[in-house]
């Protein structure tokens, strides 16, 4: 069963965070990814650039609008995703609890519905 771990946390830039904290965070994410890989549950992972780099598209009255900034302007932003394949919700929760960002923000555990293999949809499970 595939679950996507959605990592939400307040955004901090390298300046305010400091070199050392940034390096520590990177190390933590490295060992987290390695542990997921070692356990043979990691499908994919991505840490996103800050929402200041994001662009949001909306369509109203048939016209496409391209906007600077995130879809929802909230204090906590989606900062990264991990797709894992594990037995059940308890296993997913256990991995989610080990995500380094759980110390700074919420980790959402969302079961997948379908995913693609070679461009074709397959049901999750």
């Amino acid at each position: 069963m595939r679950y996507t771990l959605l990592l939400h946390y307040p955004e901090m830039d390298a300046g305010s965070l400091g070199e050392e904290a940034l390096a520590a965070g990177q190390r933590a994410f490295s060992s987290y990814a390695a542990a997921l890989h070692q356990a043979n549950v990691l499908i994919s992972a991505e840490v996103l650039q800050p929402s200041s780099s994001t662009t949001t598209l909306t369509k109203s009255d048939g016209a496409l609008r391209v906007q600077d900034g995130p879809f929802a302007d909230t204090k906590e932003q989606l900062g990264g995703t991990f797709v894992i394949d594990v037995a059940d919700l308890d296993a997913a929760i256990e991995w989610a609890g080990k995500a380094p960002s759980v110390d700074w923000g919420a980790v959402e555990v969302r079961p997948g519905a379908t995913y693609t293999v070679g461009g074709a949809w397959r049901p999750n499970a």
């Binding site: 059940d88 919700l89 929760i93 079961p111 049901p123 499970a125």
Partner: protein, 443 residues
């Protein structure tokens, strides 16, 4: 041809199987699929089929085994038609092949094992909203229908049915497992199961409107007792599980004294109490105490045991209650425990000392903001305790007003009636009073 007698016998056999085995069968059916709704539908189809075929063919020697086999076939038919599932259910192996081929009476539920414990942990999973855990247990483990559960919780039946469906969908969609947590996770997971069972018991005291199908309060109390003792026995050495079993058993021991008009605990005729249940409850409490550090349920059970001990000694050990309530307040602080402690102080020291303790409690909460004080002042046990202490302190006019306020806030009609009588300056019980504390809603 089907005689009316055969139909009646078949219905009784089906109803008995339903009551005795509902949770076990649902647990077995759902364990392999994670789909509680499908399991319930398959089981109810099996019950319907039983009502058709048992009157003519006779009640099978092993009704539960028959129901399980028929329900499992139903469940499999649904899969075959609906899904692209390729895995076979785990329990096939345990049952030794296709149950349709097996002799139905050979299906031995005991040999398969009891999956109700797993089901209890699923219902009280942290990913399930806390407010729906007890209703979910009532439905899938005990077989209560949504309308009865809705009545017990005083919410509209359609709303309750929707919430139950949503919770079951969630269990399936997010694949919440049917497992008993391991030793590491148990401390984090057990309290929710205990809370939900306790919630089931507390409901039996709630002012539920009468619903067709019998005395719900007695049913709920009995089922909660059964669940608590089953849980404790299945977990074997969990102190708080035995604590809850002891708490409910000891409280149920006094159930025979609860019929009719309200009589405060300290004035109840102890000869009405169930000596066998008291002995059982005390045995549960000893098993809890053997497990180490005393938790909330064990403390509350010990408090119940002190009250029950009056049946043996003829008196209530107030100093022991004071020690226990002080300890409970330290382990699990709650408004109820603080008010009860004030009532006990009113008995061990003086009514004035009890009133001071109540005032201190109100002032403390007031310090946390205006909502804090009003939460205390609208808390019915606070009002009732205050009224009793004022009466005993020789302040009749203040007591009358306080009893009236307590009566207004009382959810149970018999308690309300008792408090109105007290407000009118009457002692409803002709034997007068002992030195008991305030009439807490604890009966």
């Amino acid at each position: 041809m089907t005689s009316p007698e055969a139909r009646t016998a078949a219905r009784q056999a089906a109803e008995h199987a339903a009551r005795a085995s509902y949770g076990r069968l649902v647990a077995l059916l759902a364990a392999s699929t994670g789909d509680l709704s499908l399991a319930e539908d398959a089981l109810s189809a099996a019950f319907e089929q039983a009502l058709v075929s048992w009157p003519t063919g006779g009640v099978p020697a092993n009704p539960e085994g028959w129901l399980l086999a028929v329900a499992r076939n139903r469940q499999r038919d649904t899969w075959k038609s609906a899904s692209s599932r390729t895995t076979r259910p785990l329990e096939d192996a345990a049952l030794g092949g296709d149950p349709a081929m097996a002799a139905l009476d050979d299906l031995d539920l005991d040999a398969i094992g009891d999956k109700r414990l797993e089901l209890l942990f699923t219902c009280a999973h942290p990913a399930i909203d806390a407010s729906i855990r007890t209703p979910l247990m009532l439905q899938v483990v005990l077989g209560f229908d949504a309308a009865r559960i809705a009545a017990a919780f005083a919410v509209p039946a359609t709303a309750m049915a929707q919430r139950l469906v949503r919770a079951k969908k969630r269990i399936k969609a997010a694949r919440i497992p049917f497992t008993v947590p391991g030793r590491t996770d148990m401390p984090g997971r057990l309290p929710a199961v205990l809370e939900a069972i306790y919630g089931c018991y507390a409901l039996s005291f709630a002012d539920a409107p009468d619903v067709p199908g019998g005395s719900d309060a007695e049913d709920l109390a009995g089922e909660a007792l059964y669940l608590a003792v089953t849980l404790a026995a299945l977990l074997r050495t969990e102190p708080e599980a035995w604590g809850l079993a002891a708490l409910i058993t000891l409280s149920q021991a006094r159930a025979p004294a609860r019929g009719g008009p309200f009589i405060p605990l300290e004035e109840q005729d102890t000869s009405l109490w169930d000596a066998r249940l008291i002995a059982e409850g005390e045995a549960h409490l000893r098993r809890a105490a053997a497990g180490g550090a005393a938790g909330r349920f064990q403390m509350e059970a010990a408090i119940q045991a002190v009250h029950c001990d009056r049946a043996r000694t003829g008196r209530t050990d107030w100093p022991a209650l004071r020690t226990l309530y002080t300890a409970l307040e330290a382990v699990a602080p709650s408004l109820g425990a603080r008010v009860a402690l004030a009532a006990v102080i009113g008995s061990t020291e003086s009514p004035a000392a009890g009133l001071s303790a109540l005032d201190a409690l109100r002032d403390l909460r007031e310090g946390e903001g205006p909502a804090g004080a009003s939460a205390v002042e609208s808390f019915q046990p606070y009002l009732a305790t205050r009224a009793e202490l004022l009466a005993r302190d020789g302040r009749p006019s203040e007591a009358a007003a306080a009893f009236a306020a307590a009566a207004e806030a009382a959810p149970q009609p018999v308690v309300r009636e008792y408090l109105w009588q007290r407000a009118a300056g009457q002692w409803p019980n002709s034997q007068g009073r002992d030195n008991g504390p305030a009439p807490l809603p604890l009966r």
